[in-house]
Symmetry: C2
Subunit: 147 residues, 2 copies
Amino acid sequence: MKDLLYLKDEQIKDCIQLLINAYRETLSDPKDVLKKKSLGFAHLRTMYLIDMESGISVNELLYKLKITKQSLNRVLKDLKRLKIIKQIKDNKDTRRRLLYFDKDGQKIHNEVFEAQKKRIFNALKDSDPNSVIKFKDVLSKIINGKK
Amino acid sequence: MKDLLYLKDEQIKDCIQLLINAYRETLSDPKDVLKKKSLGFAHLRTMYLIDMESGISVNELLYKLKITKQSLNRVLKDLKRLKIIKQIKDNKDTRRRLLYFDKDGQKIHNEVFEAQKKRIFNALKDSDPNSVIKFKDVLSKIINGKK
DNA sequence: AAAATATGTCAACATATCTGACCAAAAAAT
DNA sequence: ATTTTTTGGTCAGATATGTTGACATATTTT
């Protein structure tokens, strides 16, 4: 049995606090860029997923964002209106309408990403590659761990 | 000059995604406990700070939460009404009204914390103490790093 | 006495989320 | 061929959290 005495409640509370603040700061960096386009965090999170997985379906987005389709639909409507994303029917299953960046989409998303990049980059640049992997690993475990 | 080739945009995007999801999952664990008491995340974040620094002032809370006093006031009003917190005048400066848990406060906060604890604990229990320190260090750097 | 600080409050509004109901097209199951 | 399920879209109303701006009160500092 491993010695877990170092893992006291105070440590865990610290982690929760840090997580809350890191989330807030990271999300607040692109606030101005987003505001110029009348976009919010909901739009940003959706753009991130479309950037990382071009051609993602609405259902997959719903699964990953963990919001209701009514909420997502408003976001998608905005993004389509602004020519940031477009939907193209899947030939194999024409019920599915896959999501891609439209003309301005990639450019705007890159702008948003640049606004966030430095904060994360600076936090990681002094760590060795192994630490970065461990950092991601702990976050993954937090996400996938059952309660 | 350090070799930072491993720190590509994809890695950074991964980190942002993980941060967003870890925040969401961590905050959603105590949802049911909070709902029973008609409380939300705003109340939870305030309770955390009062738990970690008993006797904190309203101004310090405002600084740490980065919200307006009008928002905070609504939260404090709820918590006082529910006998979760109480305010006691600072003898040295009676303008200040320091915040403490009231009768039911600590108990309810412990309930909330227990709902979140396991997720963080399980994520950290396989890491050595040094990794936990590094994890917290990276999060701190994300928070304090300038854009 | 005047200015600054700490706190509280009102009102109007913005954003992002939710629930619940309902609809249509296409695919899958029977 | 008909029924059921899946995928996506929409309307309406509600809740939680945040904002801005204006104003009030008590206390401390200058």
